[in-house]
Structure formats: structure tokens, C-alpha cells
Amino acid sequence: MHTKSVAQLVKGLGERQFSSVEVTRMYLDRIAALDTQYNSFISVDEATALAAAAAADKRLAAGDGAPLTGIPIAHKDIFCTDSMRTSCGSRMLDNFVPPYDATVIQRFKAAGAVLLGKTNMDEFAMGSSTESSYYGPTRNPWNTQLVPGGSSGGSAAAVAGLLAPAATGTDTGGSIRQPAAFCGITGLKPTYGRVSRLGMVAFASSLDQAGPMAHSAEDCALLLNAMAGHDPLDSTSSTMAAVDYCATLGNSLAGLRIGLPREYFSEGLDAATGQCIKDALQALEAQGATLVEVSLPHSALTIPTYYIIAPAEASTNLSRFDGVRYGYRCANPVDLHDLYTRTRQEGFGDEVKRRILVGTYALSAGYYDAYYKKAQQIRRLIKQDFMDCFDQVDIIAGPTTPGPAFALGAKSNDPIAMYLEDVYTLAVNLAGLPGMSVPAGFVDHKPVGLQLIGRHFDEARLLNVAHRFQQATDWHLRTPDFAQGGHQ
């Protein structure tokens, strides 16, 4: 049963082939048995999960089920959950039990989904390997010597390791797509503003976006249907109506124009990874799509632009952690200044402190124009590159990452090397576009992700292309269990 997709579980629950309590119990048992290897969960509350499953079974029996009623879903530990610890991977929030649910959590509850547990992540979502978590690193189920990617590495590993049928993640610069690629699953970062940010611990507010992580595009569509939509309590949430993302999954790709940015296929891309992407593009061509070379001329500027804007916004957002109202407080502060500075010294990890310092510098008097304003101007140029491409093509495709998953510890002491991991994903957040990662093969038994980038609010098209690709390939059906059987 643990290999069933969300769509199959929905069908089975609807037909009363099995109960939500049975499904939930099975995943809780797998977590208890296997997560000592992966460390993909920070918190699991079995009693609450089983109670929610029992309530879902009653709803289903009464014929009152919604699309996800009874489906267990893991949530990144960045979404506030009423009465359940929400740590954001940080010592700062190790003792934080929110008094409310994030809108994303509320929506899943309203749909009848079961909260299976809260997943591990880089501290405050700042990282690409899930090694900076206060709760220790998550390991990649394909090979536990490898990182799962990050920052939503716990969600990616939980889905890849079949400890949850699906999960939520958040993506500020690649944090859904890169771990999805490294763990061989499907992940979608929606358009900025498509999913509410209320109750999602803020990192960089003009970039953050929540999205689904699952085995298939079809499952991502089912989750996005529950997540997407206007939230009056998030003033950056879009008022544009969400569509049924399942309705157009099977549409033909005939005539689809796919742009291939030459900057995404140049030096820096691992050759074997590049070959997987080329093979995947051929599979789309075989379905009637046309491949068009395009250019994103400001690509080389995305990393420096991002590493001004994201830290600047982070330094502002994280100023709320002062040891007064909630979260960690240092012991025996001698005065208010000592309370603030030592709480933040002890509560934050090294990467978070680095980004706060860089952001504070970029926003400080005398440097604001040279750094922050300059980066905001170049951000517009980067977005314009994409808009120009979308005059010629319907979607853009390329690799999600420059290469497959790297070893634990390989980059954890070299921030710049870690930042380079996100070279193909950052620009999508700067431009506010939707992006996906779709399993597209293996290099040395390590999964490779194909990235698809769409026009603003064109998530349905991305899911359609990914679904058609998954009808023609079986990369998304491969699991680590299967790999260990020697089939790769």
C-alpha cells in the first residue's frame, strides 16, 4: 500500500477498499521503522494523526468526503500548526507551539487531509542541503551518504522514502524544486501569490511561495487544488481565481513551444545530467512539442541579485525573534540589550546569522542604493528576460540543478559553493514565475530533475506537460526500494 499514489489512495478510500486509519497507521509505522535512517521528520504526533484519520473515515462513511479526505500528508516544519511545535529547523523556535494554523494547514484540514507530521528543513529555509537544521541533517533515501537537497529536504526525503504519499514544501530560491530533483520526486513552486503565506514562517517575503511535493504531476495537481486560492489575510495573495489543476492534465502537447535557454545548457552543467535533460526533451518532442532555443541574457546575475534581496528581506523578517514574545530566550540576561543579542547569538545557526548580517549591511545607511536598490533594478531585468522569452514560447525547460545530489558535508563549510547549487532555480523566484521539477533519469543511481518554467499563473500548463511526460516515462515511479533491488 505504501507505493500507492495520492490519486490511487483517493480512489481506494472512496471505494472503501481500506480506511484512512489503516493508511495512516501504515505510514506512521514506516516512519517509526525507517526514519531513523533518513531523519526526514522533526515532529510526529501519532495520536492526533490517527484521530484525524478516524474523523476522515466517518466523513467518508457519511458520503461527506472532499477530494483529499483521509489522505495523510506531511508538512514542512515552516507551516504553523495549532498546538503542534513549529520549529522552522531552528533552536530559536524549538519551543514554539503556535496558537493558530497556517492557511495552507487550514485548507488541508478543511479538505479532510490527515496531518502526518512535520518535516525537517534547513534552518529558516536557508540552505540547499537540509544540513543546517537544528535537528541534524536529513539523508537522501536513494543513498544515505548524500544530501536530499534543501531547504524542503525533509519533505522530499519523506516522499522519496515512501514515508508519506505527499508533502508540502516552500520555495524561496529553489527549495521545493532542488530537493525534488535530488530525491527523484515531482515538486511545484506556484506563481508568487498563488498560495497563501499566512502562517508560513517568513524568510524573504517577495520570494517565498508554498507548493506540493509528491511522486507525480497528477498528485501535485490534487494537492495544489487544495492549497491555491485567495486569502484575504495575506495581502500579497492573488485575487485571481484558482482553476481545477486536474482538469487539463491530459491535454495534448501538439504545438507546444518549449524554450531552451542556452545559458542553462552551458558550462557548469554536468554532462551526464545534461544528457538526461536532452533525452527528456526528446520525449516531449515526440508528443508534438517544438523545441526553440532562447536566451536569458542576465542569467549570470541571478545569484548575486538573489543574495542581496533574500538576505535583506530575511534580516527584516527575522528581527522579530527577540526573545520577548515567543521562542528561545537566553538564560539570565543582564539587561535588555544582552537579552536581544545573546538570544539571537544562541538561537540562530551560522548560515542564518550570515544572511542577517549581509542583509543588514545591504540595507544600512550609505549602502542601500548600491546594494538593495541596485539588486531590485537588476531583478526587473531578469524578469524582463523571461517575459521576452514567453513572447516566443509557452514554457521554458532545462535542468533543475547543475548535477545530482552531493555528499553530506561536501559543501556545508563553503557558503558560496552551496549558493551555486541554485543557479537554475533562483531566477524563477526573482521573476515570481511558477516552476516544477520532474524526475528525468539517473546519473550513477542518483536522480536527475527536469525543470519546467511557466508564465505567471500557468501552473495548469506545467502540470499538463509534466503529466504527459510521466505518461510516456516511468522515472517518477522508480523508488529507492526498487533501486536497492538492483534495477536502478
Partner: protein, 95 residues
């Protein structure tokens, strides 16, 4: 852009983060690497380019000035490090 340990100490003070004396050298080296990396932006001609704060160029939406949320002081204070009589406690500020 060269940055000195004194600059880092000043930024850390602005950010209200204490940095131990034996760590400031290492922190300065790391921040310097990052600032050198982002310095590439300075060479780009951005004359007449409007800064972009929101990827959809959306403007702040206003809502009616109406009470929509109830008072939940007790719930919020239950998770605070130190409270008394409905007030948050911090070390003495005024002697």
C-alpha cells in the same frame, strides 16, 4: 568592497547579534566572500530601470478598517518566555 572586522562588529550591533571575539575573524572572512560575489552587480548599467519590489508589480492592497480577529492575549502570552499580569517581562530598562 573590502570590509573590516570593525564594520562587521557595527553591523552585528545593528542586527542585535552578539559575535564572540574568537569568531569575528571567521565571520568577517565569510561575509567578505559573499560581498565580493555580489559586487558584480555594480558593473551593470541600470539607468532608467525601475526597482522591482514585487514580482507581479502588485501594490499593497487595503481592506476595510473593521475588526475581524478576536482578542487572544491569553493564548499568545501562554507561549511567551516570561509574562506577569498580562505583560511581557524583560530585564529592567529604567533604573
Amino acid at each position: 568592497m573590502a570590509i573590516e572586522q570593525d564594520d562587521i562588529a557595527k553591523i552585528a550591533e545593528l542586527a542585535r547579534i552578539r559575535i564572540a571575539d574568537d569568531e569575528i575573524g571567521q565571520v568577517t572572512a565569510r561575509i567578505t566572500e559573499i560581498l565580493q560575489m555580489v559586487d558584480r552587480l555594480q558593473a551593470v548599467d541600470t539607468r532608467n530601470v525601475e526597482p522591482m519590489a514585487n514580482p507581479l508589480d502588485a501594490i499593497q492592497r487595503l481592506r476595510p478598517d473593521a475588526v475581524t480577529q478576536g482578542n487572544r492575549r491569553d493564548a499568545f502570552q501562554a507561549i511567551a518566555p516570561a509574562v506577569e499580569n498580562g505583560l511581557y517581562l524583560v530585564p529592567r530598562v529604567i533604573e
